[in-house]
């Protein structure tokens, strides 16, 4: 690990101030991604701003229209939340399958979504549910948030404060874990909300993406059969020792079907 200045602010204002004007400063939430990166010397931040002291960032709120999850809410808390289970069971289920217990007890939704790992699970839920990301300076719709490989709409020094998910009439998430890391090799989130049907795919490509053809088919008939013959092109999908682009493309259809079955249960 390289040397860096460590800050532990108590308020959002202090956090924003600590990051201001320092392009090489990094916020830290659960540290589950950041700390391994530091230990392997793959990152050399000038400052690490630890958000764990900011009480207001954690917590889950439900109202008539949806669920708002604070950025510092741990995966384990999402997984076990009665509110989340009641409003969007698929989201709680997804959180319960991230990593292992240690990771779920430290890792946060804000950290995961900000990191936008192509194999992370949460981005599928955020995009699949058409969630809204609230930051220190604005709100960003899911469609505008995920920009590419590890790339988001966040500006330097901008922090996620919470994410709001609309209530789902039906939702399901099916993950095909990478055999080694157990991150998503292909994860498909399907949801039917007031805003319509969405199908979001993580793990398969460089960034989470939607499958329009499946969404249209499911809007007509929300059943696994409706999408069984819809294939995504392998072109541009990830390819590695665990799965070729073709295999991943195939798995998208299989996992999408299973996610629909799950949603219909």
């Amino acid at each position: 690990m390289y040397d860096f200045a460590y800050h532990r602010p108590k308020t959002m204002a202090e956090a924003t101030a600590a990051l201001k004007g320092k392009p090489e400063a990094r916020p830290m939430s659960g540290g589950m991604t950041l700390i391994p990166t530091l230990k392997q010397r793959l990152a050399k931040p000038s400052d690490v701003v630890d958000l764990n002291g900011i009480k207001e960032l954690a917590g889950i709120k439900v109202d008539g229209s949806g669920v708002t999850v604070g950025a510092m809410t741990r995966h384990a808390d999402v997984a076990s939340s009665a509110d989340v289970k009641g409003a969007i069971p698929a989201l709680a289920d997804l959180a319960g399958h991230i990593g292992d217990p240690a990771v779920r007890n430290r890792g946060t939704m804000g950290g995961s979504v900000a990191n936008n790992d192509p194999a992370a699970d949460y981005p599928a839920a955020v995009l699949g549910l058409d969630a809204t990301v609230t930051t220190t300076s604005r709100t960003i719709k899911a469609d505008d948030f995920f920009k590419g490989l590890f790339e988001t709409a966040l500006e330097d020094g901008e922090l996620i404060t919470s994410i709001t998910f609309p209530k789902a009439e039906k939702a399901g998430y099916m993950k095909f874990p990478n055999p080694a890391s157990r991150y998503a090799m292909v994860g498909v989130f399907v949801a039917k909300t007031a805003g319509g049907v969405r199908v979001a795919v993580t793990g398969a490509g460089p960034c989470v993406f939607r499958v329009k053809a499946m969404e249209d088919a499911l809007a007509r008939n929300f059943s696994a059969d409706a999408i069984k013959d819809i294939k995504v092109p392998a072109d541009g999908l990830n390819s590695d020792i665990h799965g070729s682009a073709e295999y991943r493309a195939h798995l998208v259809t299989v996992m999408a079907r299973r996610a629909v079955d799950q949603a219909n249960k």
């Binding site: 990478n178 055999p179 020792i241 070729s244 295999y247 798995l251």
Partner: protein, 789 residues
């Protein structure tokens, strides 16, 4: 001794108290005053010429104590690392032995090859400085694809081994095998790759060394499976520090699986440099270094053919194997694909003639050496795959075909056509028991039920044999082995009657502290809590060979029994004196010396006390003290055998294979602690399932980069990947060691890959799939089903 702690009892592991409460002491835990820390700069290239190394800026970095490169060690005449087993090829010549310098001189030969050693006040400073070392490399094409290692135009790893050939070796008479094939009614052919594995011991390799200027003595703490052998190699071949001036301690060691048998450059360098810098040096591998530089396992490309007569009797077996050695020959690398592999190719069968040709290849990859099973898993995978394939081709029941060819119980000792003489065994009852436990009869209905859920269910057999507990030393010497294969033991009583067992074996997961204590407790009647097992320190234990090849109990335990016999013999004399009886009339029963037919008795503790306080003692005839030493050289290998039956379910849509049932019935001879044996079998099966379905060391074929260099890409089996196992055992005691024991440490890993892969093939057979490469990962299976990309 009491039934609760004696031979055959499920005594809880003594060592678990500290392991489970975080109070074990590993090399990295060692507090050393004024310690410095080493960091090794590794080659990022598989093959490159080192044009220059500039350590100037790095040496000026904060905290840096010293930086060494290959030039420094060469100038100081540090010897190269050795390969301790000479294999003679078909041409009668010893294998090619290219130099293995402790740090690269002018060429790097694999990703991870050592380029420089930085010693600094802290591990972080050492690493910071390593980043400031400037190495100018001229990158060269790499030889990574094993199947092409001997091809014309493939880059050579060492000039000393033209064409990358280390040896071209054979066993068996080719003409006899050809004649047998000429008479065959059926020939089954098989091409397979035995996938390369990375050991992944829970504790990474570590070394710490200290030089005492006052005495000139060195102490090396190392994560070694065999501290005396390590010391011998360092003393006699590499560093020239006399054995009596070098103490090697292997304290608690968190797993090895073979990878910690070998003498590595890091522990060598740490020892050498400790005297140069005048301060202790510590080093602990990072996980990424373990992936890159621990000796890897397996890695064969094989073609095999089995000839059968019209009734399914095996007539002959032909095997042609290319074995990967990596870029340098590790300590026992040459023996693994020859004497530990091809000599096992008879399996449990009466195959009358066998010929195997093994060519060892150099590649620009990490060295390959013994890994749990070492050669025997590879042999079992060949035999058990081809036998099951033959059964499928002949539409015979795989169990029936095996049974038809088993060596019959009355044929032991049985001389195989590939040198080994099996001492004992009885195979048919093992497979019967396994089939009963696995409910083989009910399989077809389970298959049908699985089908109704969209799953393809398959069942697979693997009837393995292994040879372990190596010896006798004479034979090992004739085969080119450079060391003896005996084991030592010392039983040291204290005046108050408690005991230390000093063993030359080493425990790094094998539970010797419990099993060996049970032996002595049982034999001498000493309560188990009064028995302490001491191992892993060349200064306190007698010279020993360490632990590998499932030898600890069969060889090390036998030495302990010999020492215990000496204790009893001496105790009898003392007791005879105390009881004023004739020695010939004294018997030893349950910890007490007695004169048969009288009520005279002397407890062992009283005899021991008399030996240390010899006031009433036959000092004219007998030395005082109770401290007995024994060395045991086995008269043959031991031959554990068994059958595993695996049942899998394949999801044809995704290619995911789930192990749903796994049964293992073994013959390990007599069993000292069934719980520990089951633990060894569990771990072994999981490793075997790992090899069959998950683990794969992948190097990029162009660049030689280790693609599976972390847990993000190297799939380790996890607890939820396996079902609860059904274990059984059948006993034919080993006829030639005092305990009647065989070995159990490797069996699970030896048998499981073939059982799992045969089950996968059986599951996919209805789809017309005839070959699935190992590991059968989801993608591999899906591709096999869909013939696709």
């Amino acid at each position: 001794m009491t039934a609760e702690t004696g031979i055959g009892a499920r005594v809880k592991r003594k060592e678990d108290q500290r392991f489970l409460t975080g109070t074990g002491r590993y090399v990295d835990d060692l507090p050393l005053a004024r310690a410095t820390y080493a960091y090794f700069l590794r080659s990022p290239h598989a093959h490159a010429k080192i044009k220059s190394i500039d350590t100037g800026a790095a040496k000026a970095m904060p905290g840096v104590v010293e930086i060494f490169t290959g030039k420094d060690t060469a100038d100081a005449k540090v010897g190269g690392l050795i390969c301790g087993w000479v294999v003679k090829g078909k041409d009668g010549q010893p294998h090619k032995a290219p130099p293995h310098p402790v740090m690269a001189l002018d060429t790097v030969r694999y990703v991870g090859d050592t380029v420089a050693m930085v010693v600094a006040n802290s591990a972080d400073e050492a690493r910071d400085a390593a980043e400031a070392i400037k190495v100018d490399y001229e990158v060269k094409p790499a030889n990574v694809d094993l199947a092409k290692a001997f091809d014309k135009g493939t880059p050579e790893v060492h000039a000393e081994a033209p064409g990358n050939l280390i040896y071209d070796w054979e066993i068996g008479v080719k003409a006899d095998v050809d004649a047998a094939f000429a008479k065959a009614a059926h020939v089954t052919k098989l091409d397979l790759v035995n996938n390369r594995l990375i050991p992944n011991a829970m504790e990474p390799r570590a070394a710490a060394a200290e030089y005492d200027k006052g005495t000139g003595n060195y102490t090396l703490w190392s994560t070694s499976q065999n501290p005396h052998v390590l010391r011998l190699i360092l003393s006699a071949f590499v560093l020239g520090i006399p054995e009596h001036k070098l103490r090697v301690i292997a304290p608690d060691v968190g797993g090895g699986f073979g990878s910690k048998i070998f003498c590595y450059n890091e522990e060598t360098m740490v020892t050498w440099a400790a005297s140069r810098v005048g301060r202790p040096i510590k080093w602990t591998a990072e996980r990424a270094e373990s992936f890159m530089t621990d000796a890897h396992g397996r890695d064969h490309v094989t073609h095999a053919e089995l000839a059968l007569d019209k009734d399914g009797k095996f007539l002959g077996l032909k095997v042609d194997t290319i074995a990967n050695m990596g870029a340098y020959l590790s300590t026992f690398s040459t023996a693994v694909p020859t004497y530990l592999y091809a000599t096992l190719l008879a399996g449990q069968y009466t195959t009358p003639v066998i010929h195997a040709n093994v060519r060892a290849a150099l590649t620009h990859t990490a060295p390959v050496d013994a890994y749990r099973g070492a050669g025997r898993p590879e042999a079992t995978f060949v035999i058990e795959s081809i036998v099951s394939k033959a059964a499928a081709e002949l539409k015979m029941d795989p169990a029936e075909l095996r049974r038809k060819n088993f060596i019959p119980a009355d044929a032991f000792p049985y001389q195989t056509p590939v040198a080994l003489q099996y001492d004992s065994g009885n195979y048919p009852p093992i497979i019967d028991e396994a089939m009963k436990m696995a409910d083989y009869k009910g399989f077809e209905s389970r298959r049908a039920e699985a089908k109704s859920r969209g799953k393809l269910r398959g069942i697979g057999f693997s009837s393995y044999i292994e040879a372990c507990g190596l010896g006798p030393s004479r034979v090992i010497g004739q085969l080119g082995g450079g060391v003896g294969q005996w084991e030592s033991a010392q039983i040291k009583f204290n005046p108050t009657g408690n005991v230390q067992i000093l063993t030359g074996a080493h425990s790094h997961g094998q539970s010797h502290e419990t099993t060996f204590a049970q032996l002595v407790s049982d034999k001498l009647g000493v309560p188990i809590e009064n028995v302490e097992v001491v191992h892993g320190d060349t200064a306190t234990t007698p010279f020993g060979m360490g632990s590998y090849g499932s030898r600890s109990l069969a060889v090390g335990g036998s030495a302990i029994m010999k020492a215990a016999d000496k204790v009893i013999a001496k105790g009898k004399k003392i007791a005879a004196h105390l009881m004023e009886a004739d020695v010939a009339d004294v018997v030893f029963e349950q910890g007490t010396f007695k004169v048969a037919g009288t009520d005279k008795n002397v407890p062992l503790g009283a005899a021991v006390f008399a030996a240390y306080v010899p006031h009433n003692y036959p000092l004219e005839e007998l030395e005082p003290g109770m401290d007995e030493n024994a060395f045991y050289d086995p008269s043959n290998f031991v031959y554990p055998a068994g059958t595993q039956i695996c049942e899998v379910e394949v999801d044809p849509e995704t290619g995911v294979v789930e192990v749903v049932n796994h049964t293992a019935v073994d013959d390990f001879g007599n069993i000292i602690n069934p719980m520990i044996v089951e633990g060894q079998v569990h771990g072994g099966i999981v490793q075997g399932v790992g090899q069959a379905l998950m683990e794969n060391a992948v190097y990029d074929k162009e660049t030689g980069q280790l693609v599976s260099g972390s847990y993000m890409d190297y799939t380790m089996p996890r607890a939820d990947d396996v079902p609860s196992f059904k274990l059984g055992n059948k006993v034919t005691p080993c006829p030639h060691n005092p305990l009647g024991v065989k070995g159990c440490g490797e069996a699970g890993a030896i048998a499981a890959p073939a059982a799992v892969m045969n089950a996968v093939h059986d599951a996919l057979a209805p789809l017309g799939v005839t070959h699935v490469p190992m590991p059968a990962t989801p993608q591999t299976v899906w591709q096999a089903i869909h013939g696709g990309k």
